[in-house]
Amino acid sequence: MIKLEAVTKVYKGEVLALQDASCDIQKGEFVFLVGQSGSGKSTFLRLLNKEEEPDSGQIYIAGKEIGSLSRWRVPHMRRQIGSIFQDFKLLPNKTVSQNVAFALEVIGRPKHVIVDQVPAILELVGLQEKTNRFPHELSGGEQQRVSIARAFVNRPLILLADEPTGNLDPQTSVEIMRLLERINEIGTTVVMATHDRGIVDTMRRRVIELVSGEIVRDQARGVYE
C-alpha cells in the first residue's frame, strides 16, 4: 500500500529530514512512527501525500509511483489519503456536520451522497448528538473526532495521523486510539506519528523509529523504545 525506496529529503540544502529511508507498509497495517521532534516523522507523512517532494528515491502509493504524478493529478491521489493533525485543522465558522460535509462538497460529491454519508460517519465517531455545534463549543477529543470523521468520510485507503493525541489528555487519547483502531479494522492502512509512549506500548503494533532522518528500527509488534 505504501512503499518507500531510498527516500532522501533535505530542507534548504542542509537540514537532513529523511535519509535513505526504505520501508514497505501493507494494506490494513497499523504503523507507529516514533522518534524525537525533528527526527523526520512529519516529513515522512508529508511526503506520502505529496505536500513535499523527495530529493531522491521513489514513493509508491497503492502501487503507483507518485513522484512522476502531474500536479493536476495530485488532488485525485489525495482523495485516497485521509489526514488528521495535532491541531485538528477544523474550520471555526462551520458546524460539525458542515466541516465534514465540506470535505465531500469540495471534491464534487453530489448532494444526496453528502446528506447520506455525513450523519453516518458522525455516528461512527460518536458525535451524532453534536452535529450543529461549532468547533469552539467542543472538547479537544470531540474536535479530533470531527477531524477523523472529515478525513474518513470519503473512505480513503490510507489514514495519516500526525500526533493526533498530542493535545489530548490520556483518557481522551485512549478513546481516539480506539476509534483509529476501528477504522483500521475495516481495512484502512493507518500510519501514525506519535510521541505517546503509553499508546505505543499498549497497542503493540508495528513501530518504525526515526533518528535524525534515518530509520533505525522497524519492528513488528514493537514498543516505543
Partner: protein, 299 residues
C-alpha cells in the same frame, strides 16, 4: 469535473461581501479607467469620422476677391486647368456660396444670415488635387496664393491637422490616464483576491488536503475578479454612453456650428466601444485574479 453550481455562486457572493470596501475600490477604479479609455476611443472615432468627411470633399479652397475682374478670374481658371497636379476643380459663385453659408453654418439663426448679402460673400474654387499628400497640396496651394484676385487659399489639411493635433494631445492624455488607471485596477483586483485567499487560507488548506482540484479552489476566486472587472466595465460603458448622449444633445442645440456635427459617432460605434470595454474589464478581472490565485495557491 463535477462542480456544484450553487456552491460556486455561494462562495463567490460570500467573498465579494466579505471584502466589500476593496471590492468597491477595484470596481470603481476599473469603471473610471474604462470610461477614460472609452472617451479616448470615442474621440478617435469622432475625429476620424470628421476627417473622412473632409478628406473626401474639397482639399483646398481658393477664395476669390468679391470684386475680382473677369480677366483675373480667367487667368486663375486657366492655371487651374493647366496645372498637372489638379484632379478636378469647381467654381462656386456668390449665390451658391451664400446658400451654403446659410445652410451649413447658421440654419437656425436667420438674423445672422440676413446680415450677409451676396456681394460680401466671396466666390471660390474648390480644388481636388491629384495627389492627396500634404506636401504636394501645399506646393499647388501656395502657388495660387499670390495670384492677383485671390483673397486667400484655405487648405482643408490645415484645418484638419489643427483639429488632429489638438485631439491627438487630448486623446493621448486621456488614453494614458486610462491605461495607468487600468493597471491600478488590475493590481487592486489582484490584491483583493489575495486578501480573499488569505482570509480563507484555512479552508484552502483543508480543500487541498482532502483532494479538491486546483480548478475547484481557483474558480470562485477567478469568478470574483471577473465579476469585479465586468461590473466596473459596465459602469464605465454606462458613463461613456452618457457622455456621448450629452455630446449629441449639445450638438443638436441651437448654438453649435454644423461643422461639429461631423464629429458625431453612430450608435453602432458606441455599442462597439461598450462591448470592447466589457471585454477588457472581464479580461483584466480574470487575469488579475488568476495571477493572484495561481501565485498564492502555490499549486
Amino acid at each position: 469535473m463535477v462542480m456544484n453550481f450553487d456552491y460556486l455562486i455561494k462562495e463567490t457572493a460570500r467573498n465579494l461581501r466579505r471584502n466589500l470596501t476593496l471590492t468597491l475600490a477595484s470596481v470603481l477604479t476599473v469603471a473610471v479607467s474604462l470610461s477614460l479609455l472609452g472617451v479616448a476611443l470615442l474621440l478617435q472615432k469622432g475625429v476620424s469620422n470628421a476627417t473622412d468627411r473632409w478628406e473626401n470633399g474639397v482639399e483646398f479652397i481658393i477664395w476669390i476677391q468679391p470684386d475680382v475682374s473677369e480677366s483675373q478670374r480667367g487667368l486663375i481658371e486657366t492655371d487651374l486647368q493647366n496645372s498637372s497636379g489638379i484632379e478636378t476643380y469647381r467654381y462656386v459663385d456668390q449665390e451658391e456660396a451664400l446658400r451654403e453659408f446659410n445652410e451649413d453654418f447658421f440654419p437656425e439663426n436667420p438674423e445672422i444670415t440676413q446680415l450677409v448679402t451676396v456681394d460680401v460673400i466671396p466666390p471660390s474654387y474648390r480644388v481636388v488635387p491629384a495627389q492627396l499628400n500634404a506636401e504636394a497640396i501645399e506646393i499647388i496651394a501656395s502657388s495660387f496664393e499670390t495670384k492677383p484676385g485671390v483673397k486667400k487659399v484655405v487648405r482643408a489639411t490645415d484645418e484638419i491637422s489643427k483639429i488632429e493635433t489638438a485631439t491627438d494631445v487630448i486623446r493621448w492624455v486621456v488614453l494614458g490616464a486610462g491605461i495607468i488607471l487600468l493597471a491600478t485596477g488590475l493590481l487592486l483586483i489582484l490584491n483583493t483576491i489575495r486578501m480573499a485567499m488569505f482570509a480563507r487560507r484555512r479552508e484552502i488548506e483543508v480543500m487541498k488536503l482532502v483532494g479538491a482540484t486546483n480548478w475547484f479552489i481557483l474558480i470562485p476566486f477567478m469568478l470574483e475578479g471577473t465579476f469585479q472587472g465586468i461590473v466596473g466595465a459596465s459602469l464605465g460603458t454606462a458613463s461613456v454612453y452618457g457622455a456621448n448622449r450629452a455630446f449629441e444633445e449639445w450638438l443638436s442645440s441651437d448654438n453649435v456650428l454644423n461643422i461639429l456635427q461631423s464629429f458625431a459617432v453612430t450608435s453602432g460605434d458606441v455599442w462597439g466601444i461598450g462591448f470592447l470595454l466589457l471585454a477588457i474589464g472581464g479580461l483584466v478581472g480574470s487575469v488579475g485574479s488568476a495571477i493572484a490565485a495561481y501565485r498564492f495557491l502555490d499549486v
